[in-house]
Structures are given as structure tokens and as C-alpha cells.
């Protein structure tokens, strides 16, 4: 049998299918699509997002517990907050000769001198901070030195420099560095042992 004949049989065979299918095909019409629904839906969603953002913006201070300031303190803040604790370290005159950490606040004449049993860990941790601008360095309220018994002075803002031979003597014009977080932690740890 040729394909055309087979197709004809198939075509004719379709006449015998159930009436229910035919009635369904006869009555079917696509559900009306409401064209405005999509843009309206998008607009509603945007409005909802906008309202939620506004609510969060204005209600969050009332609804959420106040965030405590958990930002890590800088070295200057740390040493200032330990002022009473370190009062015993305060001296008008620094006597060199041992390993020590020396710092000075801008508003004071004297120095704080913390003798170190082993300066090596502090020395290792210097130089790891981010560079500070010369203006920032000059305006800094805190000056800090690390002095070793061999005469090495790691001078303001803790940049290791073999050129510095004494307090406040700065021959190295490279950018100074902020004390690294590890250095600050180490110092805090040391201060906690006072």
C-alpha cells in the first residue's frame, strides 16, 4: 500500500474518533489573555520592593537592636584607653639601654616606657601595616618607638629603619606605616600582663 493510501486511511479513520474529543475541539477557545496583567504585575512588584526598602530604611532603627561599635580600635585609641593602666610606665625622661617600647601622646611632655624581655616578636611585626601619608604622620597624636639594647630604633609609626639612631630622629623618608593589627594585638596582650 502506498503512503498516500495509508494517509487516506488514517485521514478517514479520524472520522471515527470519540464524539467527546470532537465536541471539545469544537468548543475550545483560548482563555482570554489580559494584556494589561503583565505590566500591572511588574508595576505592583516594583512598588512592593520600593515600599519594603522604604520601610526597612525608616523602621530598622526602631525595630533592630542598636549595633554596638565593634570596629577594632586603632593603636592610638588602645593606648589612650589604657592610660590609667599604663600610668606606672609614664616617665619624664627616657633612659635608653635596654629593649623597650616607647610612646608619647601629642598633648604630653613625657613618655610611656614599656620594658620588653624579648623585642624580637615586636620587631618581626613591624613594617606590616599600610603606608601613611607624611601629613597624617605629622598630625598623628601618637608617636611610638621600638628601641633595642643594640641601638636599633624603629621610629615613628613603626617603620624599621637602620638610619634612626635616637628618639625623634628621622633620616628615613620612606612612607611610614601604620602599626599592623598583629602588632597591636601583641602590644595589647603585653599590656594585659601589666
Amino acid at each position: 500500500m502506498k503512503n498516500r493510501e495509508k494517509a487516506e486511511i488514517l485521514f478517514r479513520g479520524l472520522s471515527d474518533i470519540d464524539d467527546g474529543f470532537l465536541a471539545e475541539a469544537e468548543a475550545y477557545s483560548a482563555p482570554r489573555r489580559r494584556r494589561f496583567l503583565l505590566p500591572a504585575g511588574i508595576a505592583a512588584a516594583l512598588l512592593l520592593c520600593f515600599s519594603a526598602a522604604l520601610m526597612l530604611r525608616f523602621l530598622s532603627p526602631l525595630l533592630l537592636p542598636k549595633k554596638e561599635n565593634t570596629e577594632p580600635q586603632g593603636l592610638e585609641q588602645t593606648l589612650l584607653s589604657h592610660r590609667e593602666q599604663t600610668a606606672s610606665l609614664y616617665t619624664e625622661q627616657v633612659e635608653f639601654g635596654g629593649d623597650m617600647l616607647v610612646w608619647q601622646f601629642g598633648d604630653e611632655e613625657g613618655y610611656y616606657v614599656l620594658p620588653l624581655d624579648d623585642p624580637e616578636p615586636f620587631l618581626r611585626l613591624t613594617g606590616g601595616g599600610s603606608p601613611v601619608s607624611p601629613e597624617q604622620s605629622l598630625s598623628s597624636e601618637l608617636k611610638i618607638w621600638l628601641c633595642t639594647r643594640e641601638g636599633l630604633v624603629v621610629s615613628p609609626q613603626l617603620l624599621p629603619s637602620a638610619g634612626n639612631t635616637a628618639c625623634r630622629t628621622l633620616f628615613d623618608y620612606r612612607s611610614e606605616l601604620e602599626p599592623s593589627p598583629d602588632f597591636v594585638n601583641r602590644l595589647l596582650h603585653r599590656l594585659s600582663r601589666l
Partner: protein, 184 residues
């Protein structure tokens, strides 16, 4: 008027039966006939033949879906008419041979053919039942009612390419089913 009332008119042998049928289904039947025959005069004749066949069929028939019942009659009449026209156009010895095949007495072959038709009908019903509603409608609108693609697309709210793709897949599905059933 609903289908049951029109059918009741046929059963009462009321002259209004055909009138009411034409009022409710005339447009659908004329459209379908034209799509199948592509000739206004043939279409009109075919629709009238359909009314006549329905008048003769009821009683004893009591169709639940009058539209489907009429569409089926019209479709069969259209196919017969197409075949006749095709035969007439071919002419010559081929026409004579084809005419003579009608003289050959029916034997086992007819029984086999009837059984085969029954199996085909079952397979087609099974195939249609396996489809979701939309695809079933698309298939029937195309291959039963003879609707063009653009009209099917409009009816379904689909694009024409989506209708074509659906039909392609439906044909492939039907082919697989017929092969599995070892039909045709």
C-alpha cells in the same frame, strides 16, 4: 437552541429540525466543507447532503454532541466527494480499473479491513486521550476540521510557529504509536 432540543426535533420529524441545525451549525459546516473541498459549490452541496444524512440518521441516532455528529458526516461526505473527483480527473484505464475493483466480491479482506479499522480507531482514541487538552484540540482542528495554521493559532492564542512545532511533534507521536501497534 441546545443540541438535545434540536435532536428532539429530528426525532419528531419536525421540518424545523434542519432549520435550527443550519442556524446553529451552518457556518461551522460551510467553513469546514470549504476547507476540505476548496470549492464553494461543492461545499454548499456537501453541507446540504449533511443535513439530509442527519435527517435520515435520526432516528435511530441520538447524538449527544450534535456538532460533532454533523462534522463527522460532513467530513465523510467530503472525503467521498474528493475521491470521486480525483478518480474522474485521472480517467483512462486507471479509472476503469478502479471502477471494476468495486465489482470484486468482498471476502475475508473486508473482515480484515473492518478489524483493522477498528484497531485504528482504538489507536487514534488512545493517542488523543494521551494528549493534553490543548494539543488534542490543535491536532483535531488541523486533521479533523481542516483548519489552516493561522486559524488554529488564533483560536489557541499561540504563534503560528508554535502551532507548526506542536503539529510536527504530534505527527511524530502518532507515527510512533502506529508503528508500535503495527498499524498501516
Amino acid at each position: 437552541m441546545d443540541d438535545a432540543s434540536i435532536v428532539a426535533l429530528y426525532w419528531q420529524r419536525s421540518p424545523h429540525a434542519t432549520e435550527e441545525t443550519a442556524r446553529k451549525y451552518g457556518i461551522m459546516l460551510r467553513g469546514m466543507a470549504y476547507r476540505l473541498l476548496r470549492n464553494p459549490q461543492d461545499s454548499e452541496e456537501c453541507v446540504n447532503d449533511t443535513y439530509f444524512a442527519a435527517w435520515n440518521g435520526m432516528p435511530t441516532d441520538r447524538p449527544e454532541h450534535l456538532g460533532a455528529y454533523l462534522a463527522r458526516i460532513l467530513r465523510n461526505l467530503s472525503i467521498d466527494r474528493l475521491r470521486r473527483d480525483h478518480r474522474a480527473k485521472r480517467g483512462g484505464a486507471e479509472l476503469l480499473i478502479e471502477e471494476l475493483t468495486e465489482c470484486i466480491p468482498s471476502r475475508e479482506g473486508d473482515v480484515e479491513a473492518t478489524l483493522e479499522n477498528e484497531r485504528l480507531k482504538e489507536a487514534l482514541n488512545r493517542f488523543l486521550a494521551s494528549l493534553d487538552r490543548e494539543r488534542r484540540v490543535v491536532f483535531l482542528r488541523r486533521y479533523f476540521y481542516g483548519d489552516p495554521i493561522n486559524e488554529i493559532a488564533a483560536r489557541m492564542g499561540w504563534s503560528e510557529s508554535r502551532v507548526k512545532t506542536a503539529l510536527f511533534r504530534l505527527r511524530a507521536g502518532l507515527r510512533a504509536l502506529l508503528e508500535k501497534a503495527e498499524l498501516l
